[in-house]
Symmetry: C2
Subunit: 554 residues, 2 copies
């Protein structure tokens, strides 16, 4: 059987657009003489639709859209994800479903059995779990259809099984020789490798082809990498789609020669650094354009975070759509004038300079007496950041540009940032990138020629909100900080566990206290692009008014 | 059997504090010769702990706390909620549990069977569902223990049953004659009445006492009203606890005389207006104090929203802890000087005046050319709001005060508010109060004497960001707007459904478009106190980059 795998980049709720993408790739698959074309999970509506699922008319439009596909696509079988209604009186109203149809007839309908409800996933909020695991015949082959998480409960591969059923195992025992998995499986560093290993092992174990059709594109914080793939019955990868863009693959399970055909293996990133950079560029482009915008604005400080963000924005939207603004104060160093200007030249963005001292002086008239201090306190430092944030929002309003915020994950974690100041923005491009990884990305960008001026990479990080300030006056060194943060945030280690690993107890306590204390800032942060296993935002939900870890510490 | 019901106000994660509250009320119950004292759901940790549940050390500290209670409380049976570990390899790691213990021994442990996962609830994210429904003997009576949602699946009362099991029915059939329900059941308008009706009907149906022990207090956005109660075997309410404060009730199921004893029926609000006002006051007090603060600051505009917020703050924290700030511009009317000053006098708060025109002028120097317009455009209007927001944050930083934002639900719904401007704040006190209800609350506050100056209630609402501006220049009349918003947001009605109810199609389309377009603002809003069935924030989760309803509309 000749199978096409089409990884589409849907826009959530834009049924017309999504249908057109599906029809476009179905045509391509038909032209390539395929028997079957497979689309991602919820391809009709886009994933995740979240509470749009609670709107009755949204569900109806999704069903009407599916009907159009069933009536219009002829000559090829199609597997495609959509939202179905639960006909039973009891249970949740909806199913996360897949359908196999051909020439106007539905051959099988399947409801997702395993509903991820952790991290960024909320599927039990909306869906009733499917109970049935039956395979079906299609053009002489027995096919078992699974939806994303359905394939993520293998007893040998997963250390901890959170579900009580393994749909793949049941389908294989029901005779399926082709396991189809339609997914919206989000990207994080290392996930592609794990998926390949797991799907290959499943294919080998059950001596079945494994067809993985994954959504691609950014939907708010969640980035889908694509990298759809086909595995043969020995578990070898036989076809692989690009990462971070739409693509179509062809796989013929009768031509199992054991030799990889180069044309079926499309280029995917060769390193985590490359894949993260592509993820950020795709995520920025998709957020801005799916929100209906084309242009952005951001502040350049002379530091590496805003430089990286500006580079990503220019790649995502074209430099002509990026306005970069330098807003010096009395504390701004001369070198930052030079470095920012050079950066803007290198990446080709428009560059404006707006000094803030006059505005600061006007505010200060009404905020005695702490101004009489010899140097700016927290109030005055935040005030500078808020003046800059306000200027950027004025430019955003005036020119219809989305403001990009430029803070990294390390800063956001410990609250080394100003709410309503440098945190302002519609999208926080690098808020899931630890500071140490920001440097790796900058070096990667400069691998062939200097794009981010070397001095920006070399200089000691500083917020420049008071004289001779550096980040390390207030924070532990970034390599140490990032190690503790990874343990605390991504690996959910407690204070005792981190200390037992050899970290300095005082530093561990201080870092944990800062992370916990600053939950309120992150609660109001712009959505950020998720690239690690645990990002701030939607997938990390902490109470604000709480006293765990916090007592006797502030 | 003599049963005490203690509704505690826990602080999330403050095990020491929560234990002390439990021991305090257990002592009271013992002194009153009770056989049993019942505490709310997750009384040990506070509800909802959210992702704190993912920390191993949090779970351990919760179990250690429970052990302390079991070892220390003697002479009385205790039912109490805590988090248990799931000993099985398979399934989610935790249970939402209840324990009945007496004199150091656990008599029964029960795991919550029905896990709410909708609106503000995320229980399937953390917990494995309990499967067992067995009652147990205690001092000669057969008791069936349920946890909150466990009692919310009655086939006759609920139109749509989302679960496949009715624990109360199973327990009653297992012989339970006292149904205990430990809850953390959040407040919204009308819920108390529904609960009473439902619990009474359950008691009557199964000829069992029904003991409802509900958490009280505010935890971030979610407000718990308490109003714990006991229903006799005829379904009559025999004991009722106060709303919005800690309380203890005593109920003797052998004294079923059918006559209500006045001392067991504590005062609860007589109207929705009264209960909402109490809810806001409790929610503000708890948010501020549980965050470790005592003082707040807010801006007064001369309008009714900030007046109501200031009143609530003064009631919640004492007027001496509330700083009110008036920030006039060239567009500010003379009457607002007078009205705000009078309001601050009436409620007894400190009052400061900080004019913004000088600061605005400095910003304007760098933001040509749209200033040459005859009147301020959106950019300039937002700029004024952001200058005020920045001043308030400087006062917040300087004096360690939480900033309260003052926007109402109608504004927030249609985006008639400025992100990083008047939306600034740690808590959005009235962001779930529609404008029409703001007026009702103001009239209620003034029911005995004028506290909110009459002119503030009478004047035409205006943002005063350009000459002769009124809200109604940009928005439909508030009574119409609020009706459409209620249909769209709380009742999830679609455009067609609203139009078919007789609303003007153009207005419906415009309102829906505004609500959808402004999701990004609400994404960055401060937490607000939930009093309706559907509040913005945690319980309402929409994608930002989406095009449903939005196409061809902007």
């Amino acid at each position: 059987m000749r199978i096409a795998i089409a990884q589409t980049n849907p826009v959530i709720g834009d049924f017309e657009y999504n249908l057109n993408r599906i029809k476009y790739y179905a045509d391509k698959a038909l032209s390539a003489s395929c028997d079957l074309v497979v689309f991602p999970e919820l391809a009709v509506s886009g994933y995740p639709p979240r509470d749009l699922l609670e709107k009755k008319d949204f569900i109806e439009k999704n069903l009407e859209s599916l009907s159009i596909l069933i009536n219009e696509i002829k000559g090829i079988g199609v597997v495609c994800g959509f939202v179905d209604k639960n006909p039973d009186d009891e249970g949740k109203r909806l199913f996360n479903s897949a359908v196999l149809f051909e020439n106007g007839k539905i051959l099988q309908k399947v409801n997702k059995r395993l509903l991820p409800t952790y991290d960024v996933f909320d599927e039990s909020r909306y869906f009733e779990a499917g109970a049935e695991c039956k395979s079906c015949y299609y053009r002489g082959e027995k096919i078992g259809i699974t939806i994303c998480e359905d394939a993520w409960n293998d007893e040998y591969i997963l250390k901890k099984r959170i579900y009580h059923m393994d749909p793949v195992d049941l389908l294989a025992h029901d005779g399926a020789k082709i396991i189809v998995n339609i997914s919206a499986s989000p990207y994080h560093i290392g996930k592609k490798e794990f998926r390949s290993e797991m799907f290959g092992a499943i294919a080998r174990k059950y001596k079945a082809d494994f067809i993985f059709a994954n959504q691609v594109g950014g939907n708010d914080s969640i980035l889908f990498d694509g990298t759809s793939a086909a595995f043969d019955r020995q578990g070898r990868i036989r076809a692989l789609a690009k990462d971070f863009e739409e693509d179509i693959l062809f796989y013929d399970n009768e031509e199992n020669s054991g030799i990889l055909s180069e044309e079926n293996i499309h280029y995917v990133s060769a390193s985590d650094t490359e894949s993260v950079l592509k993820a950020l560029i795709m995520g920025t482009r998709d957020y801005v354009t799916k929100c209906g915008f084309s242009k952005v604005v951001l502040g350049l400080s002379g530091g590496i975070d805003s430089a990286l963000t500006a580079f990503v924005a220019a790649k995502a939207l074209g430099p002509e759509n990026v306005l970069t603004v330098f807003m010096p104060s009395v504390y701004t160093s001369k070198e930052n004038y030079i470095d920012t200007q050079k950066l803007a030249e290198n990446i080709g963005t428009r560059f404006e300079i707006i000094p803030i001292d006059g505005i600061f002086g006007e505010f200060a008239r009404f905020l005695p007496p702490s101004h009489k201090q010899s140097e700016p306190g927290i109030t005055e430092q935040n005030l500078q950041a808020r003046i800059r944030g306000t200027i950027l929002m004025a430019l955003s309003n005036r020119e219809g540009r989305i403001l990009l915020s430029t803070g990294n994950k390390s800063e956001l974690a410990v609250g080394y940032c100003t709410l309503y100041g440098d945190m302002n923005g519609g999208l926080a491009v690098i808020s899931d990138i630890p500071k140490t990884f920001v440097y790796e990305l900058a070096l990667f960008i400069n691998r062939e020629k200097e794009i981010i001026p070397g001095n920006i990479i070399k200089k000691v990080p500083s917020a420049e909100l008071k004289p001779n300030q550096t980040d390390q006056d207030d924070l532990p060194p970034y390599d140490l900080l990032d190690s503790i943060l990874k343990g605390y945030i991504e690996e959910l280690k407690g204070e005792d566990e981190l200390i037992s690993e050899g970290f300095d107890p005082e530093i561990v306590k201080d870092v944990i206290s800062r992370v916990d204390r600053n939950e309120y800032k992150r609660h109001q942060a712009a959505p950020g692009l998720k690239v690690t296993t645990k990002a701030f935002g939607y997938g990390r939900r902490y109470p604000l008014a709480q006293r765990y870890n916090r007592k006797n510490r502030i």
